[in-house]
């Protein structure tokens, strides 16, 4: 019974982790940027959905869409005003760009986090779930929302797969992650690809954020841990590898759920962290890393 419960809970949590991390890895794969304001985007989406529903009474669906929209806007802002200026700056030496992007996105994340805390306090907020009720799966009472979360996450991941592998824009994005110069030689404007990738990323992070808000609830304190967990999943799976991130998300999700059920919720994150250190020792490039 407990085993089945772990299986079901772990699946939903892992799907959420996967969706959260996949955008993060996409950005890294295409433009080599590690966006440390990732958690802030997710929380902003959830809080926006919560506020739109609570203050403007727009309803659950419109609230969720609004949340995703806010995340999309923030992702584009991050690219336009934080990442791109640093990539183009004459005053920063090439080998230092990475650390400047890390520092600047980190600060940007703190700015968003503090703004949320100022406007809507740092209390935990739970977005009203779109679907309610409980169903029994083989005798395990499972909230419908949990199933909904897993379905939407996998739907979004499937859509992303379709977009990248089957559409023209997606193929251009894929090509840019392999060889940016080659793409420009084919007459494709690289600038548009980056904007497209950041837009996709914003939507993915937004969906993940809103779902997280419905599933577990968020507060402005979740910003740091969310960024850290996306970062660890992505590194565990191998930076830039989408399928690696999916596997890593499930490894981490199940490890955490197992620990929470069998040992104690207080130790939830420890085994995953130790695993990460072990992988660093043995296989620094991650599970499916290319380098």
């Amino acid at each position: 019974m407990v085993a089945l419960q772990i299986l079901i809970d772990g699946f939903a949590v892992s799907a959420l982790y996967a969706l959260g991390a996949i955008g993060f890895t996409l950005i890294f794969g295409v433009s080599g940027v590690l966006n440390l304001s990732h958690g802030a985007l997710m929380v902003a989406a959830a809080v926006a959905a919560w506020a739109a529903n609570g203050d403007l009474l727009v309803g659950n669906y419109a609230g969720a869409v609004f949340g995703v929209g806010v995340s999309l806007a923030l992702a584009l802002l991050t690219y336009a005003f934080i990442v791109r200026p640093i990539q183009r700056s004459q005053a920063i030496r090439n080998e230092e760009r990475e650390i400047f992007i890390l520092t600047a996105t980190l600060l940007w994340g703190i700015v968003i986090q503090e703004l949320i805390a100022y406007l809507y306090t740092s209390n935990a907020k739970t977005v009203l779930p779109i679907v309610e009720g409980v169903v029994a799966i083989l005798g395990v009472r499972t909230p419908t929302n949990e199933i909904f979360t897993a379905v939407v996450c996998w739907g979004a991941i499937a859509l992303l797969w379709f977009l990248v592998n089957r559409t023209r824009t997606g193929k251009a994005v894929l090509a840019a992650s392999m060889n940016p110069r080659g793409v420009t030689l084919l007459g494709i404007e690289l600038a548009w690809i980056y904007i497209a990738v950041w837009a996709i990323y914003g939507v993915l992070a937004g969906i993940a954020g809103v779902l997280l808000g419905m599933f577990l609830g968020v507060s402005s304190y979740s910003v740091g841990p969310l960024t850290a967990s996306a970062f660890s999943i992505v590194v565990l799976g191998g930076l830039g590898s989408v399928s690696g991130s999916l596997i890593a998300a499930y490894v981490v999700g199940y490890l955490e759920t197992l620990t929470a059920y069998l040992v104690s919720p207080a130790y939830r994150t420890i085994p995953a962290l130790l695993l990460l250190v072990a992988v660093m020792y043995v296989r620094p490039r991650g599970l499916l890393g290319r380098r």
Binding site: L34, I82, P85, I86, S89, Q90, A91, I92, R93, E95, E96, E98, I99, F100, L102, T103, A104, L106, L107, W108, I110, V111, E114, L115, A117, Y118, G224, A228, F231, S232, V235, L239, A266, Y267, T269, I270, L273, L274, L276, V277, M280, Y281, P284, R285
Partner: protein, 321 residues
């Protein structure tokens, strides 16, 4: 000064300050700071004293980042190890303060070595993540072993260095000045140059016959030494240790912001940035919750528009005068 000068945002070369000029300016600033307790209230001293300890954290971090080009996301791993080891020993065994501080420093150096050996095999973001994970593990362990560490409530330390605000201020100032002088001298020594070279191009530095790993390990150890020492002393100033003030990732972020804000690869800039950050946060306290927002936004603007930091701004103004 270092072999290459950076350039300012508008493309003009950064005015160079010689070692002599910088030392001279630093001595004047320290002398003025030492006289401060006779003119200002204990409240101002109470703001500046923690600032001096955080300045040491930032300078130790800059040695690793600015020179060895390694992003250590976990400065608080080393700080926390030093602080908690010293605090626990004082709490449990009641050793003399200086023995506790020495033990704390030793713990930080040992922990630094354990972390550095695997961490230095990996590069860039992987190194950063390994150090970040170390902090998360440490803060989890502190909560798990709450009997020993006080867990989320914090650890109370029975002894303090002094209860006199003036004495505490001078001790902190003296410690910061001494650490700053040593770290600055190291950064300008042949070792600092080799670190810079290996940070920029590890392969070429290795081809020139320098043992890159050995030098990076040495930098990590020195950074751990000063972080641990500062952490241990800070505990005996605060009279308590808690995850929120010493280990949490946000504390580490503050150290990093301080160093980048002040001007990386300068050591002294890191101290400047830390004191500015603490002072600004305190000055903006009337804004309430907005204080952190404003400080982070200002830091972001400085990173974006003046990537060489406060010290370059000051050098430019000084160079013009």
């Amino acid at each position: 000064m270092c072999a290459r000068a950076g350039s300012l945002g508008d493309g003009r070369p950064m005015p160079r300050l010689s070692v002599r000029e910088m030392s001279f300016a630093a001595i004047i600033v320290v002398a003025l700071a030492a006289a401060l307790p006779f003119f200002v209230s204990d409240y101002v001293l109470g703001v500046l004293t923690p600032g001096f300890y955080i300045a040491v954290f930032a300078m130790a971090w800059d040695l690793l980042f600015g020179f060895a080009n390694e992003v250590n996301f976990g400065p608080t791993f080393l700080i926390g190890l030093g602080a908690y080891a010293a605090g626990i020993i004082d709490n449990r065994l009641g050793w003399a303060i200086w023995l506790c501080v020495a033990a704390g420093t030793a713990a930080a150096v040992a922990g630094g070595l354990v972390l550095a050996l695997p961490a230095l095999r990996v590069r860039g973001p992987y190194f950063g993540l390994t150090t970040l994970v170390a902090v998360l593990i440490l803060s989890n362990l502190i909560v798990v072993f709450a009997d020993l560490t006080g867990g989320e409530i914090g650890l109370t330390v029975p002894d303090v260095i002094s209860i006199d605000a003036h004495a505490n201020y001078w001790i902190a100032l003296g410690f910061m000045s001494a650490s700053g002088a040593i770290l600055f001298a190291l950064s300008r020594s042949p070792m600092g140059l080799i670190l810079q070279a290996s940070g920029q191009d590890a392969v070429q530095a290795g081809a020139l016959g320098f043992n890159v790993t050995k030098h990076k390990l040495a930098a990590f150890t020195i950074s751990a030494f000063f972080s641990g020492l500062a952490g241990a002393l800070y505990v005996f100033y605060l009279g308590a240790a808690s995850v929120g003030t010493l280990v949490d990732v946000t504390v580490g972020v503050q150290v990093i912001i301080a160093a980048v804000l002040g001007g990386r690869r300068t050591i002294l800039g890191a101290a400047l940035g830390a004191i500015f950050l603490i002072g600004a946060t305190e000055a903006l306290r009337p804004l309430g919750e907005l204080a952190t927002l404003v400080v982070s936004a200002v830091a972001l603007l400085i990173v974006l528009f003046f990537p060489n930091g406060l010290i370059a701004l000051i050098a430019r103004v000084g160079g013009r005068a």
